[in-house]
C-alpha cells in the first residue's frame, strides 16, 4: 500500500502545507472579500430599493452609485 510508505510522508506533507497556505492567502486576500463585497452591496441595494419612496434620487441613480462602489 503506497499510503504506508513512510519515505513519501515528508515530501507530501511539505508540499501540502506550502500549497494549502498559498491557497489560503489567495482566498483570504482576494476571493472571500470579493464575494462578501458583492453580497453586501446587493443587500444594501435591496434595502434602499424598499425605501425608494423616501430617497430623492431615482432607483437607477442608486443602482449606478452602488455599482460604482463595486469597482
Amino acid at each position: 500500500m503506497p499510503q504506508l510508505d513512510s519515505l513519501t510522508y515528508f515530501t507530501q506533507s511539505f508540499w501540502f502545507v506550502l500549497l494549502f497556505l498559498a491557497f489560503y492567502l489567495v482566498i483570504a486576500n482576494e476571493i472571500v472579500p470579493h464575494i462578501a463585497l458583492i453580497l453586501k452591496t446587493r443587500a444594501k441595494l435591496l434595502k434602499s430599493g424598499l425605501n425608494s419612496s423616501k430617497v430623492t434620487g431615482s432607483k437607477a441613480d442608486i443602482e449606478t452609485l452602488i455599482l460604482s462602489n463595486l469597482k
Binding site: 503506497p2 499510503q3 515528508f10 515530501t11 501540502f16 494549502f20 482566498i27 458583492i38
Partner: protein, 265 residues
C-alpha cells in the same frame, strides 16, 4: 490482455522533480546523510494534483468574479452559493461567534472539494486518498480547536470533559471516556476522509479492470461486459457525490469541534 494491474497502483507517489539533500554529500559526513535521508523535497504527482486543484479553483473564481455585478452571472452565482453554503454551516453549528473563522473554513471546504473532484478525472491523482495529507488537515483542525478552547476559556475548557448532571461516582469513568473521545476526534476526521477516497477509487479501479477484461474477451462475454461498464458509470456518479459529501462532512465536523471550543457544549 492478460496483464491485470494492481488496483493500488494508482496511489503510487512518483517524483516529478527530485529534490533531496543528496547534493550535500560532499559537505556533510556520510552518517548525517543517512540520518537526513527522509528529508525529501521532491515535487511529486501528489503535489502536482494539489497545485492543479487549487490553481484551477482560484482561476475559475477570478474569471467568474472579474465581471461581477449585482445581478449575478451563472458562474458568479455558483461562487456566491459556495460562500453562502459555508456561511450557513457556520451559523448553524457555531453561531455568530464562528464567523471569525469563516475564511479558514471556506478554504478548508473548497480545498478538499477541489482536490477530491480533481481526483475523479481518469489518470489523475487524488491527494486526499493519502493518510498523511488528511492527517495534516485533521491535526491542524484538532490542535487549532484545542488552542481556541484554552484561549477563550482558560482552564475552564476542561469542563468540556465533564457533562453537567452526572452523579459523582460515575465521574472518573465519564471523564476518561470523554477525554479519549476528544483525542480520537483528530484521528477520525483524517481517517474518514482518506478511507472514503481510498475505498471509492479502489472500487472504481477494480470494476474498471473487470469491465475491460470482459469487453476484450470477445464473443458473448463482450456483450455481457456492458453490465459492469454500466455499473462503473453509476459508481463514478456516486464517487462524485462522495467527493462533495466528504468535503461537507469534514467542514461540518470542524465547525462542530470549534463549537465545543467556543461555546463549551
Amino acid at each position: 490482455m492478460t496483464t491485470i494491474f494492481s488496483p493500488l497502483e494508482q496511489y503510487n507517489i512518483n517524483p516529478i522533480l527530485s529534490l533531496n539533500l543528496s547534493f550535500l554529500d560532499f559537505v556533510l559526513p556520510f552518517d548525517s546523510l543517512l540520518l537526513l535521508g527522509w528529508v525529501d523535497f521532491s515535487f511529486t504527482n501528489s503535489s502536482l494534483a494539489i497545485l492543479l486543484a487549487t490553481t484551477l479553483f482560484v482561476f475559475l473564481a477570478r474569471f467568474s468574479l472579474a465581471s461581477s455585478s449585482i445581478v449575478p452571472t451563472p458562474w458568479q452565482s455558483f461562487f456566491e452559493m459556495i460562500y453562502e453554503f459555508v456561511h450557513t454551516i457556520i451559523e448553524e453549528q457555531i453561531g455568530t461567534k464562528g464567523f471569525k473563522y469563516f475564511t479558514f473554513i471556506f478554504t478548508l471546504f473548497t480545498f478538499i472539494l477541489s482536490v477530491n473532484l480533481l481526483g475523479m478525472i481518469p489518470y489523475s491523482f487524488t491527494a486526499t486518498s493519502h493518510i498523511v495529507v488528511t492527517f495534516g488537515l485533521s491535526m491542524a483542525v484538532f490542535i487549532g480547536a484545542t488552542i481556541v478552547g484554552f484561549a477563550s476559556h482558560g482552564l475552564h475548557f476542561f469542563h468540556l470533559l465533564m457533562p453537567s448532571g452526572v452523579p459523582a461516582p460515575l465521574l472518573p469513568l465519564i471523564i476518561t471516556i470523554e477525554f479519549v473521545s476528544y483525542l480520537t476526534r483528530g484521528f477520525s476526521l483524517g481517517i474518514r476522509l482518506a478511507a472514503n477516497m481510498f475505498a471509492g477509487h479502489t472500487l472504481l479501479k477494480i470494476i474498471a479492470t473487470f469491465a475491460w477484461q470482459m469487453l476484450t474477451a470477445g464473443g458473448l462475454l463482450s456483450i455481457a461486459g456492458l453490465a459492469p461498464l454500466a455499473l462503473l458509470f453509476a459508481l463514478i456518479g456516486l464517487e462524485i457525490v462522495i467527493a462533495f459529501l466528504q468535503a461537507y462532512v469534514f467542514t461540518v465536523l470542524t465547525c462542530s469541534y470549534l463549537n465545543d471550543s467556543i461555546n463549551l457544549h
